[in-house]
Amino acid sequence: MTASIGLGGPGVACSAMRVRRLDAGELSGEELLRTEAHVAGCERCQAMRRAIEAEREALHRHLPFGAFAAGVAGRLAGPAQAPGPWRRRWVPLALAAGLAAVVVTPLVRQSLSGRDDLLPGVRTKGAATVEVQVATPAGSRALAAGEPVPQGAAMRIVLAPGGRREAAVALVDRDGPALLYAGPAPSGVVPGAFEWTGEGDGELVVVLDDRPVDGAALLARLRDRGLAGAVPGRGAELVVVPLTRSAR
């Protein structure tokens, strides 16, 4: 005995794409009138409209504008379609879950105390903390202060923003700065696991502010002025985590 199963596809007058184009204001003339009249009386197309609205809500939940703009700016700042000094890698879900389960313990944070010569005018309130987590075949854990990053390890950043509302995270090494995140300051795991590729030592630069931190501008300042250019204004806070690599 057999049963047939459909896979969807266009209806006589129904089309998900046409509803999307209607919503985006891309229809005109006769096509606009015909589609409006059809959608108004079609339950299937009304359901599509509700699905589009749900997509908008999901966008704000999963990819807020700050994170989106920072991600796009980071890609535009680097070479197109080529692996950069730092590049994101897809991290298997099981690995991501393991990372998320790590208990936040040792804090790998270096405030700017004693580095005012490098960063004049920077205030460090000392409330924010940054932790680097690594996942290796042996399991996932917080990286201890001064401990080299294992080769090939998936890494994540855990942030305690100390009341700051916005954050940007950049990785700086001999190949230059790369933006890892910019957007609302999460209290916990910063979205996105990554692998640190390239050569040499580096620094993780975390800028916290009450105003949105422009990721593209941060990269430009880091390129032009190094760490001294990291902070956008006097009200911001900077946390720098030195990173070294384990021997190959």
């Binding site: 199963i5 990819l63 700042a77």
Partner: protein
């Protein structure tokens, strides 16, 4: 879709912030939804979405000359995700096996969108892309031909290829399920 130029630094200039915001407001929700559907991984979907828009900003003329910006961006998202998934066909086959097991052991019939996604793995690259346009975006074959610049017979042929490959894949896991007759597709 053309190959993007090697550098796109100019598009990252602060003056383009308004353009990025407009693209986000108008199109990011649909692109992210497409990426989440095809990749089934929120983080990978976020990355793919940002890759799509970075590519668009590198070659703004392509979007400007597209008949439908929505159609262009969804095609770009589909293309991006299928590239990401090209190396993981084995995982998609596992998905079909899981559906077959759920159906056999728990009586859960596969949902058509989920089944479609799993069956895409079985088809050749070009057929997969056209199958998404047809079955997910619900574009007619004539609309697909116009959108992709292919002839109508070519679109028909690719959809037949997809259904033939899907039928073969399904016959192993769920032999009693019958897919639509390719000749009967509207």
């Amino acid at each position: 879709m053309g190959t993007p130029p090697s550098r796109g630094g100019a598009a990252a200039e602060p003056g383009n912030a308004g353009r990025v915001e407009e693209l986000y407001r108008r199109h990011a929700a649909g692109v992210l939804a497409r990426c989440r559907y095809l990749l089934r991984d929120d983080e990978a979907a976020r990355d793919a979405t940002q890759d799509v828009f970075a590519r668009v900003l590198r070659s703004p003329g392509e979007l400007a000359s597209a008949g439908s910006p929505t159609g262009y961006l969804l095609r770009a998202a589909t293309h991006q995700c299928l590239n990401v998934l090209r190396a993981s066909r084995a995982a998609w086959r596992d998905e079909i096996r899981r559906m077959a097991r759920d159906r056999r052991e728990q009586g859960i019939e596969p949902e058509s969108r989920e089944l479609l996604r799993a069956l895409l793995s079985a088809a050749p690259d070009e057929a997969r892309e056209l199958a998404v346009l047809y079955f997910v975006d619900e574009m007619t074959q004539a609309e697909i031909a116009a959108e992709t610049g292919r002839s109508l017979p070519t679109v028909r042929k690719r959809l037949r290829e997809f259904l033939a490959a899907a039928r073969t894949a399904l016959s192993e896991a769920m032999p009693d399920l019958v897919l639509p007759d390719p000749e009967a597709l509207p």
